[in-house]
């Protein structure tokens, strides 16, 4: 092996190797949060309806594991994942793993009917990963909980519409945000182009339905 190349360019080689290692760590294992895309969030689960934005890459892979994140073990906590064509349901007192989390831009609806809780959600982003907003149909077809990246450049609901190139003429898709009170606290339709709509909040998903020109496939923008 000719070592002269290494000696001449050793600084670049070291930096390059470190970068490759970081990417490998991020890609190979779900538990890894070594890349600069990794994070850890102390997420609140309020009583009522919660839309949880799961990281694109996370060790939480099943409904049962998500219950464990929040320490929930009773039927008072119910989970639902909207696939765009169907609904997958789970309650935290079950002995099966439940549905597999889609992640990668798809959040989970959790209805907590008794006691609020907190849980640590960890994960990382997948740069370049696309997300699909499904074509509208009879519920639950066309409904999805969109989990935007934790370091999204989108600031408000209008940004989401623009990022996804969602329909901006009526009938336009409906974006719904659930608030800390456990109920709907803001809605927006993408044809309200003059208004920025509601601000996005870290760790939350937003329910999107009624995209009549779908499916819309896009890569969420992020820092």
């Amino acid at each position: 092996m000719n070592l002269s190349f290494l000696k001449k360019h050793r600084f670049h080689v070291v930096v390059g190797a470190a970068a490759v290692a970081m990417v490998l760590v991020a890609v190979v294992g779900d538990l890894a949060v070594a890349s600069n895309m990794g994070f850890k969030l102390n997420k609140q689960l309020v009583r009522g309806t919660n839309l949880i934005a799961m990281p694109f890459r996370t060790p939480t892979q099943t409904a049962q594991q998500l219950c464990a994140v929040f320490g929930k073990t009773t039927a008072a906590t119910s989970l639902a994942q909207f696939t765009g064509t169907a609904i997958q349901s789970y309650t935290c007192d079950q002995l099966t793993a439940g549905f597999n989390m889609i992640n990668k831009g798809v959040g989970v609806r959790i209805i907590e009917s008794t006691t609020a809780a907190t849980g640590i959600i960890v994960g990382s982003h997948i740069p370049g990963q696309s997300v699909t907003i499904p074509d509208a149909g009879a519920f639950p077809v066309g409904t999805i909980v969109y989990a935007y990246p934790y370091h999204t450049t989108n600031v408000n609901s209008r940004d989401v519409c623009q990022n996804g190139a969602l329909t901006t003429t009526a009938p336009a898709p409906l974006l719904t945000r659930f608030g800390p009170g456990g109920g709907v606290d803001a809605t927006y339709t993408c044809d309200q182009t003059a208004s920025p709509g509601f601000p996005l909040r870290l760790g939350e998903g937003i329910q999107i339905s009624g995209e009549n020109n779908g499916p819309k496939v896009f890569v969420p923008s992020h820092f």
């Binding site: 309806t49 039927a75 008072a76 099966t96 793993a97 009917s113 639950p140 009170g181």
Partner: protein, 515 residues
């Protein structure tokens, strides 16, 4: 914090949620109402030997209509009433949606060594909000907005409550009441394509957590849990052996002939019987406070028979199952049932007229060359033929066209099994031949279409060697009958497939494999 205030806050929150999320209504859009089983360690038994492709449907008792399946959406006010689209009684049932059955082994891996191979269960895919489902099991029984609560049978609610406000009148400090016990149970029916077997479960919404007035604190939307069945077989998993929620398959009722008299005019007077089915259920008794509802002027839409448990509903006139005997003239031993001209023999016979598993009996005189069958009609008997919204929303118009086989009319393609009363036109054959291996023996079962000249019956093995001879049951009466016998491994003499020969007419069945 006073309990009354807590409940008030919870209730206000829920009402806000319901109001806020009600922008788009279809079928259970504001709630999901899942149908679980696997996760609570319950399952259906493996299909019997000889069974065909398995499929499932469901409906809500009193609200089912299997004659109209459209998966249509409806208005917000009509969600859960059984009308969708507005003005059409499509029922609250699985409609055109897919009902998933999951291999129990694959999702309960920690118990797989105890779960019989082929056991099936309802997992996370099934819910009343799924695509293609007709209606929603959350019943707004009146036009009062508070009845549209997006929760299955809660024990709280303001409109019919004893307390209009927490602490008013003085000393009234609980929203607990049973006036919102208004959502009927559901039936889950599993069938197979040979139309010989089915499995059935009926359950109310899952029992709310807590005891007594504390049940009002359970404000979850709730769900159905088929693992709450309590009169099935013992759960084979040792940790759950105290539960009888292992739901067995049953034979689709088929008339047997217990005795026959050949009359001078050559008609046959036959004493028929068939085994009464068992409705597997959760033994639920969920009283509704009808008096409270009546006091608020809603007497005409009270819950029938005082409650929304399976036992409550089963006590209604007509029960939860009925039989209809039918007859039709035939010209061959294996007629296509959909082409026959069927006539009802007598009126419906209630399943509740005999104990589950015992015999239902019926005497009837028929000419030779006649087919008989029993239609097993499941669900409630409609209280009215009117399908206007006012009747449908009260659960008075269902259930329509749910049977042990997918037979919805006389000319149905999936007929229940026939029993042939033979004559000159009917050939004598062995049909429905099955050989099922069980440890060191093989159980052979078959049916004869008709026995007019049969002396005895041979079971043939390799090279058509006679493995066993059994006596005929009907022999010369013209009636067909059922047979089941056991061959030991030694008696098989290396045979991989078998035939049945009716000695007398000499008719030999096709070869059938040992499974």
């Amino acid at each position: 914090m006073r309990k009354g205030f807590k409940v008030t806050a919870v209730m206000a929150g829920l009402l806000l949620m319901a109001a806020g999320s009600s922008g788009v209504y279809a079928n259970c859009t504001a709630s999901i109402m899942p149908v679980f089983q696997c996760g609570f360690v319950g399952f259906f038994a493996p299909p019997p030997a000889g069974a065909g492709t398995v499929s499932a449907i469901w409906w809500q008792l009193g609200y089912g209509n299997n004659n109209i399946n459209n998966g249509a959406t409806t208005s917000a006010a009509a969600e859960g009433t059984g009308h969708a689209p507005t003005g059409t009684f499509s029922g609250n049932d699985s409609g055109i949606g897919m009902v998933y059955l999951t291999d129990a082994d694959s999702v309960l891996t920690q118990y797989s060594e105890h779960i019989p191979d082929g056991s099936l269960c309802s997992n996370f895919e099934n819910s009343w909000a799924a695509s293609g489902i007709d209606g929603c099991s959350d019943n707004p029984r009146s036009t009062n907005a508070y009845d549209n609560d997006n929760a299955l049978n809660p024990y709280w609610g303001p409109y019919y409550s004893y307390c209009p406000y927490a602490g008013y009148p003085a000393g009234c400090d609980s929203f607990y009441n049973r006036a919102y016990q208004i959502d009927y149970p559901m039936a889950f029916l599993v069938r197979e394509s040979t139309n010989r077997f089915f499995a059935l479960a009926m359950v109310a919404s899952k029992q709310r957590a807590g005891m007594g007035v504390d049940k009002a604190a359970d404000i979850s939307e709730n769900f159905y849990d088929l693992a709450t069945v309590s009169n099935g077989m013992q759960n084979p998993i040792p940790d759950f052996s105290s539960r009888n929620n292992f739901i067995p398959w049953q034979q689709v009722p088929r008339p047997r002939v217990d005795s026959v008299v050949i009359n001078t005019d050559m008609t046959r007077t036959v004493s028929l019987s068939w085994t009464n089915i068992t409705i597997h259920h959760d033994n639920s008794n969920r009283p509704t406070d009808n008096a409270l509802r009546t006091a608020r002027g809603l007497g005409t839409v009270q819950v029938v028979n005082g409650g929304v448990g399976v036992l409550n509903q089963g006590n209604q006139a007509g029960g939860l199952c009925r039989y209809q005997l039918q007859s039709a003239p035939v010209t061959s031993a294996s007629p296509d049932p959909s082409t026959l001209t069927w006539t009802n023999v007598g009126g419906p016979i209630l399943c509740s007229s005999a104990a589950p598993g015992s015999n239902i009996t019926f005497n009837h005189t028929v000419p030779p060359d006649t087919a008989l069958r029993v239609r097993t009609i499941l669900g409630k008997q409609p209280r009215t033929t009117n399908t206007l919204l006012a009747q449908v929303r009260a659960g008075a118009s269902g259930d329509l066209a749910f049977e042990a086989t997918d037979c919805r009319a006389n000319n149905c393609l999936n007929s229940p099994p026939l029993m042939i009363v033979g004559g000159g036109l009917v050939s004598e054959q062995a049909i429905e031949t099955v050989a099922a291996r069980n440890k060191n023996a093989v159980t052979v079962s078959f049916r004869t279409t008709s026995e007019l000249t049969v002396s005895n019956i041979d079971i043939l093995g390799k090279g058509d060697a006679v493995l066993k001879t059994v006596p005929c049951k009907q022999c010369t009466t013209g009636i067909g009958d059922e047979y089941s016998l056991v061959l030991t491994t030694g008696e098989l003499k290396g045979s991989k497939e078998l035939k049945v020969r009716l000695n007398g007419p000499g008719a030999t069945s096709g070869a059938f494999p040992i499974q």
